[in-house]
Symmetry: C2
Subunit: 243 residues, 2 copies
């Protein structure tokens, strides 16, 4: 059983680098905080190491390094007290399946986490993120997914070429527009499809919009400009699951 | 046209107090940041004063005080640069209507803002907050409502006595539960009702739960523990509007 009490320890220094996206990308690993996320990662076989506070009663079939409060403070992303931090490997890409959700440049970490939870709840096979979407392994996103990130296929793709490929494989591409388009209540959804949700402020880019076969909207009262992006995505997925 | 450049000016000191809930409560006023919120408050006749940065081209039929960047920094709640801040009066209570949304101890400002947007989108007449719900006039809540707070009736009430009163006035009370209850797809919604959404982590309290006539749930895949509270509330309101 290893114990580390120095913030200058080399292993700790290496793990601290995972706070930056470029290190997460180059190592294919990331940090998670708190028991709930650790348990969810463990269930999927993605947990590589746990680092509980000295004195915590943690025993898992995983490499374990006990750390001091000072080291925990250095590794963690929040001011709140957490009792364990974990190192996870990113999930390997799988077959994309027939029900795809595409997110173009979603910027709010809470929105991304919320949408991932809803995707899993409503049977999405794969969530596709544009390269400019907020990083999935950002600590705020991880927290707001409530651990659901470990149970769904999520990939990053250049959207135009990816959507063109989907189209050549007979996927129907549904865009989303506040004005115009078809009420989600009044449409039959195809078996193979991708739904595109645009950026919170700007919506879909014109290049992505031009690839959409149909645009969908959610009927609402007139004085509201738009729903929150996470809510809009969730209601559309909820409706599409029930079609 | 008044200009204030000192953070020690008495008027500025008074306005700064509005960052605290107790001063917002005692004066029935609150601060809003940025043009969008100011425009929405103005439309509803709730804007009492605007304070643009010196040099900004702002002319509105409202008391106007130009302020320096230093003063703006003192008044504002964010690190981002904003060009105008406003003082608003709280909206007066109106008749509660027939479609009521009750929030019990919602804690996340983003969730509250999102739920207010969805309430307006889906025809809720009044949103009722328990006293322990995050303060409506918190700057993060205001931002995430996207100005919709000005267009809907929102009141704070002790829930048990309020719900008892609703029941004696023939409102149907719908609670929400992840396990058990009735699928929202399979229920006829009454014309006069209140829907109760519980706290993000704990759900409804037992005293409120015992007052519910029926509990509703949203059908989803089994491996998901729950949806985000803002999403769950929004999907239920969406379905209830369409019944």
């Amino acid at each position: 059983m290893e114990i580390i009490t120095s913030v200058n320890n080399n292993h700790i220094k290496e793990l601290c680098k995972l706070k930056e996206k470029k290190y997460r990308d180059s190592t294919n690993t990331f940090l998670i905080e708190g028991e709930h996320l650790i348990y969810e990662a463990y269930k999927e076989g993605l947990l590589e190491e746990i680092l509980p506070l000295i004195g915590e009663d943690f025993s898992m079939d995983t490499k374990t390094t006990f750390i001091s409060k000072e080291v925990m403070k250095k590794l963690s992303s929040t001011d709140s007290i957490i009792n364990v931090i974990g190192v996870c490997s990113k999930r390997k890409e799988r077959e994309i399946g027939n029900k795809i959700l595409i997110l173009e440049d979603i910027q709010d970490p809470g929105n991304l986490g919320t949408i991932i939870r809803s995707s899993l709840a409503f049977g999405v096979d794969t969530v596709v993120l544009s390269p400019k979407t907020v990083d999935l392994y950002n600590s705020k996103v991880l927290r707001s997914t409530q651990g659901m990130i470990f149970h769904i296929n999520i990939i990053v793709k250049e959207l135009v070429s990816f959507i063109e490929e989907l189209k050549s494989n007979s996927y129907m591409i549904y865009g989303t527009k506040v004005d115009g388009g078809i009420n989600i209540k009044n449409i039959d959804i195809k078996d193979k499809y991708a739904l595109v949700i645009g950026n919170e402020g700007k919506g879909m880019s014109s290049s992505v919009e031009s690839l959409c076969d149909k645009n969908l909207y959610i009927d609402m009262d007139n004085n509201v400009e738009s729903l929150n992006a996470g809510v809009a995505a969730s209601i559309l997925l909820y409706e599409m699951r029930n079609k």
